[in-house]
Symmetry: C2
């Protein structure tokens, strides 16, 4: 691989001049600049980024640290980050940690020196404090609700509002007993969604007892298993709010096996609006979260700090979560809510446009936003 020396020698200039051509080209005469560029192209020269970052203290890369890379939510977050990073000419280093706070710390250590900033989603409060300490010396943006660290930026989804809107919607349809399939205890998003469920019930004057709560872990099988609890509950709830779509899908599947009709016998609402929801039978009413946008926003919030290598300030941003009414909740279908063809998905080098559906606002009554 050619180095700056090779180019300098070949072009008959000093290495400083070559360097300038690739950095502050204005300091170099147009003639020599084009000459040097020609030589560089011929030698297939490109500045070595390790050497460069050794002296500039900038890597032009950001790290992304997630609890897992499983499922559509994370995949869309990464995609959003990648999209925004490409536009800003930043590289993206992804990493996942599957276990303890321990590994989160070692993951960060391994990333150190390779990145200018970090986007991280911490699973629980314990990991949160570990990150917070690190964030006092390094630009960090958290993808978590309720981030308390004053030195981190933080983005989150309107978990509470979305859950509240979903449950209020069910209540407005006349449901008096509305169950919940929870996400993991301690998971910050899950806790917020549970809180939204509880408050919406209370606001509607309904029972919000823990007898109506079933434990879950965001997996399809958790939703599947939750079905038994609801079917045997006395009295049986007429509606269930699931803390994410995967669990709603598992629940839907189990109810079909149990010959419980949805939405007639039991109305179901999910959370996240994964792409497939509209193609289920019945199509899934859910709360839309734009995970891709979350990633994009996170990168843009991080970037100024990454560029200046200063810790982030305590900026907070919340993305809206909007109710998408389909069939599983039993509401009358608003006309034109879902243009056919849906959100395009593709694999490979297709050329399909990415249609977005019209979407309902989070006001809980199905009116167009």
């Amino acid at each position: 691989m050619a180095t700056i020396r090779d180019v300098a020698r070949e072009a008959g200039v000093s290495i400083a001049t070559v360097s300038r051509v690739f950095n502050q080209a204005t300091l170099v005469s147009e003639a020599t600049a084009t000459h040097v560029r020609g030589i560089a192209a011929r030698l297939d020269y490109w500045p070595n980024s390790a050497a460069r970052s050794l002296i500039t203290h900038r890597t032009h890369a950001i790290g992304v640290l997630l609890p897992d890379l499983y499922g559509e939510f994370f995949s869309e977050v990464i995609r959003g980050i990648d999209l925004a990073a490409r536009a800003e000419k930043y590289q993206v280093l992804v990493s996942s940690f599957h276990d303890s706070t321990e590994t989160i710390v070692s993951a960060i250590r391994a990333l150190r020196g390779r990145i200018d900033g970090l986007i991280v989603m911490v699973p629980d409060a314990e990991a949160h404090t570990a990150i917070a300490e690190f964030a006092t010396r390094f630009p960090v943006v958290l993808l978590n609700p309720g981030a308390t660290a004053p030195e981190c930026g933080a983005l989150s989804v309107a978990n509470y509002d979305g859950a509240y809107a979903a449950v209020a919607h069910l209540a407005s349809l006349g449901h008096r007993r509305i169950g919940l399939v929870r996400g993991p205890v301690g998971n910050l998003d899950a806790d917020e969604r549970a809180r939204g469920w509880r408050d919406a019930l209370r606001a509607a004057g309904l029972e919000a007892s823990s007898a109506l709560e079933v434990a879950g872990d965001f997996s399809e099988s958790a939703g599947f298993q939750a079905a038994a609890s609801f079917v045997h509950m006395q009295p049986r709830p007429s509606a269930v709010f699931c803390a994410n779509d995967y669990m709603a899908i598992g629940l839907l599947s189990a109810l079909r096996d149990a010959e419980v009709r949805v939405p007639q016998d039991m109305a179901i609402v999910g959370f996240d609006d994964i792409a497939i929801g509209r193609y289920l039978t019945p199509a899934l009413t859910t709360v839309r979260v734009d995970a891709c946008l979350l990633g994009e926003r996170a990168l843009h919030q991080l970037l100024p700090f990454a560029r200046s290598r200063r810790p982030a300030d305590g900026q907070r941003e919340q993305l809206p979560a909007s109710l998408v009414v389909r069939q599983s909740c039993g509401a009358p279908q608003p006309a034109l809510a879902e243009p056919q063809g849906g959100r395009a998905r593709r694999r490979g080098h297709g050329t399909a446009a990415h249609h977005r559906e019209d979407r309902l606002s989070a006001n809980g009554n199905g009116a167009p936003a």
Copy 2:
């Protein structure tokens, strides 16, 4: 951030000794090693990877270059790569390119010097030659079928076999006219799947005319739009093979709207086995591709070359694609084929095990593998 000098000074040793403690600890006395480690921990020192890679010519990172990060297939590939890379203590840099061969080249250029090896999925033949040239000087593994470059490793999925098995299965169920929703022309995977469809039809003595082919681009909306073509075809095909699951889902949805019953009026088979397939109504018969394993295998094929920084040899590996018979093809359901609860998906820090379903082999007759 503390440097090796700070640690050396504080520990009263030379920087060489500190370096040895972090690299070949055997060359240093146990006493000084622990002493140095203590100081390093106190100063929160960790070797700067840029400086390190400047002299070792190793980054301990690999690059992943994909046409897009959209959808479950890519997300699972990345997850597989990440899993394997973590185990090997390698970092993963992901990048996507959305356009031309041009951007693929510039993406590679930007990655240069930051990675020890590259895993790349090229969309078409043109990009293929650009990569092939690069691969003569750098370890590259292709995630593509029919890779011709002798200096690249290459992994692929048994697209042809899987498609053949799917279509043979439909033929064995008595279907005489079997349509195809194609993937993008020029896409290597799509072409192979189309070839499998064609050959299986011929082998069964059936018509494989292009009149039975409908263009598609792997998106749900392409599948949705394809429905109209099939419904109006004279005579109407009694079965359709879709080159991926997303298109099958779109097709399913459109057929429901058109009140064409699946599988009675039209049998449908997809390709990829995305997680959601089993929860559709009817559950989707498809060809299972383990994208996560594809990623894992790619990393393991690349790693020896990345470590030695030598171009890969022309190693080829093909992952099996196995038919998964569910309801959309209309075959009698084999007992015990799908244990309930399904493949677990999760978001967040859940604890669910990842159940795998029993699976049918690609021999096309539904017998257990």
